[in-house]
Chain length 462, copies 2
Amino acid sequence: MSTHNTERERLVIIGGDATGMSAASQARRLKGPDELEIVAFERGHFTSYSACGIPYWVGGQVAERDELIARTPEEHRARDIDLRTRTEVTEIDVPGRRVRSRELDGGAESWTSYDKLVIATGARPVRPDLPGIDAPGVHGVQTLDDGQALLDTLRATEGRHAVVVGAGYIGVEMAEALIHRGYEVTVVNRGAEPMSTLDADMGRLVHEAMTGMGITMVDDAEVTKILTGGDGRARAVATEDAEYPADVVVLGIGVRPETSLARDAGLPLGAHGGLLTDRAMRVRGHDDIWSGGDCVEVLDLVSGSERHIALGTHANKHGQVIGSNVGGDYATFPGVVGTAVSKVCDLEIARTGLREKDARRAGLQYVTVTIESTSRAGYYPGAALMTVKMLAERRTGRLLGVQIVGREGAAKRVDVAAVALTAGMTVEQMTALDLGYAPPFSPVWDPVLVAARKAVAAVRKG
Amino acid sequence: MSTHNTERERLVIIGGDATGMSAASQARRLKGPDELEIVAFERGHFTSYSACGIPYWVGGQVAERDELIARTPEEHRARDIDLRTRTEVTEIDVPGRRVRSRELDGGAESWTSYDKLVIATGARPVRPDLPGIDAPGVHGVQTLDDGQALLDTLRATEGRHAVVVGAGYIGVEMAEALIHRGYEVTVVNRGAEPMSTLDADMGRLVHEAMTGMGITMVDDAEVTKILTGGDGRARAVATEDAEYPADVVVLGIGVRPETSLARDAGLPLGAHGGLLTDRAMRVRGHDDIWSGGDCVEVLDLVSGSERHIALGTHANKHGQVIGSNVGGDYATFPGVVGTAVSKVCDLEIARTGLREKDARRAGLQYVTVTIESTSRAGYYPGAALMTVKMLAERRTGRLLGVQIVGREGAAKRVDVAAVALTAGMTVEQMTALDLGYAPPFSPVWDPVLVAARKAVAAVRKG
């Protein structure tokens, strides 16, 4: 299979998850095996799975690991994709148009040449170099294998105390999962408030709600070491000020682009360590190399600068665009506005666009407003409070960002702002938006419109 | 109070519900009583109430009538608005800049002059001229008084059978209310499917779901009379083909603009019988007369023509715009895209933009696609199926409309399409929208994006 057939092109894909396999599937839809050979290398056992679903599998809402797998290696192979699992790519030879790979179980190494290459190596979790970090009972939650190992620990121990390190979306989702498993949960967080993807005033609301759920929130705290017991297992997490007992420790500190192969190959990386691409998702300066998903930087359409965002929905879109272009069609990924939604138990958290510090960094002057409203008409059963914060550019009134913290019906309201940001709308234009209204679904002024009206007044004053 | 004080302007408002009192409140915010006198006439007992909430009050989800009242007459009066309830305006003298009013309880008539006039007379329900239509037990549900009368009937009778005439949003919401009250419900509908605000293929899904709830759906049926019993009360509804027993009959046939005063005064009406205004909500050709809410026609931004839409959210926006302009500020209402959401028990129904017949009438050629997807990631508990139909313009790919029928989490997804329509986006642009993704909230491709992707393919073929 590694002999290069000159009668057809060969597409080589590094990474068998969302971007890589979406690209493979879309390319295969456009070109049959007579025209295009597709070889995909995947280091792990699994393909095309939902890493975002791991917290719900650990928490027990999703019963079986396989429910998170959208397409198995066998299903990909049945569609004429030469998928090689447990095989790691160790080098990209750009001038030679080939990659070197190693079978993880057998150890055999070989070179595979390519006409077109897709780098979809994803992200790696941040794992600080602390004493005890590698002790049994300390878990990341990046891959299905990680999730399985954590579940094995939870089932094997008679634990009561869990410590989650990090209070971003992985951290808060894992806090929920561990509550579902019956643990007393402590979240240790380096920042002043959880969810640093929000401004601190909105993060404060998350803090209060999580405390109300019985979670111990430790903010402004740096973990100094993981303490182990006589059996070598983790038994507590230490900060400069205190120790927190831990039968299990979950690391949810964040991820970085996995671009060591690309860096070694001399490919262009950005300030966040991600590959830089054009809008067709081609690696800049390389007409026959594409990249997408968690290993690239994306254009933030609001600030005009590059960001790194590890999120399955972007990875899938990138794969679709890459597969279309590789397959001879044409598609582009214009960029993101930075939308993210998550939840902790019944608390919904959403954001899109710029936070205050993002706006300042981008040199944008802005006004902010914060309002409280309800998910349904106030008199309708189940109407739940939500807080909406809105940023608008000074003078122009252009929408810059929205953050929402609330209960049922809060998070997906951010989508309205995401579309408005994409369209470059002003908050004044937003006040006239024809959003769906009926008492079970919204107050007569949707909360996003209430915020927009208040933002209009702030822009006029500002 | 009817003497005209020449030192300040007088604003006269006809109609004390959403548009009229929003306009009054906003004008009062901008101008105090020394500058602007505000006189408002309201025929009924109540002001500023949610007519959209009546089905939920009748159904019992809202316990008390007063929960539907946003602001009472006394509250308006406390803000220096001279509100005259139970007082009907019987004539507008445009050249004389005055209105004639009659106190409904006392019978006294008088003229009140104005500098600025707001016509907010709302809509009246269609009430076909059928034998038995005025019999006890036959109810409309337009006003709080109507709702109270219906509730009185429901409490006084030991009824089992209810017939709802009409299967638009009022009809289906009343069907739900009567199910909640323990009735066996029959919906008699002139059209081929319920919810004629949807295309028939999507209406069919509503039909099937309502049948599944135990509601008897009678389509393609014209009511010929209401049969009465020996006590003179309604006992059945007759069509050409059959009779349906009815201890109570609810009329939900629709509404027309209430513009008889305006027509008699020579003000410009459109093809749907609504007043025609400019974007500042001034009646065309009249610099000192404004109108909004259920008695005006609005510009449909997608088709470019005028429509009549009776919906509280528009009425409130119109009132806000009118009040701003009357108060010396500046605001406009650019138009609508035709968004509407409603529900029957757990079935959610949404639409925005054009149906197929609207597009044909507007001379627009289009492609349509219909997809099924889920409200959450497929593996996440509570993921509910929804059907999304999308219309896009042939050649240009511009989004023309979206219809959604599903369960929890379906209806408000239409807001994304409403903003995209307002921004004039193509379906190809929509495929890149950065919508909120996390397994509890959405599949990795949001259902609206799944539809957009399929629409892109249809546009390329079409």
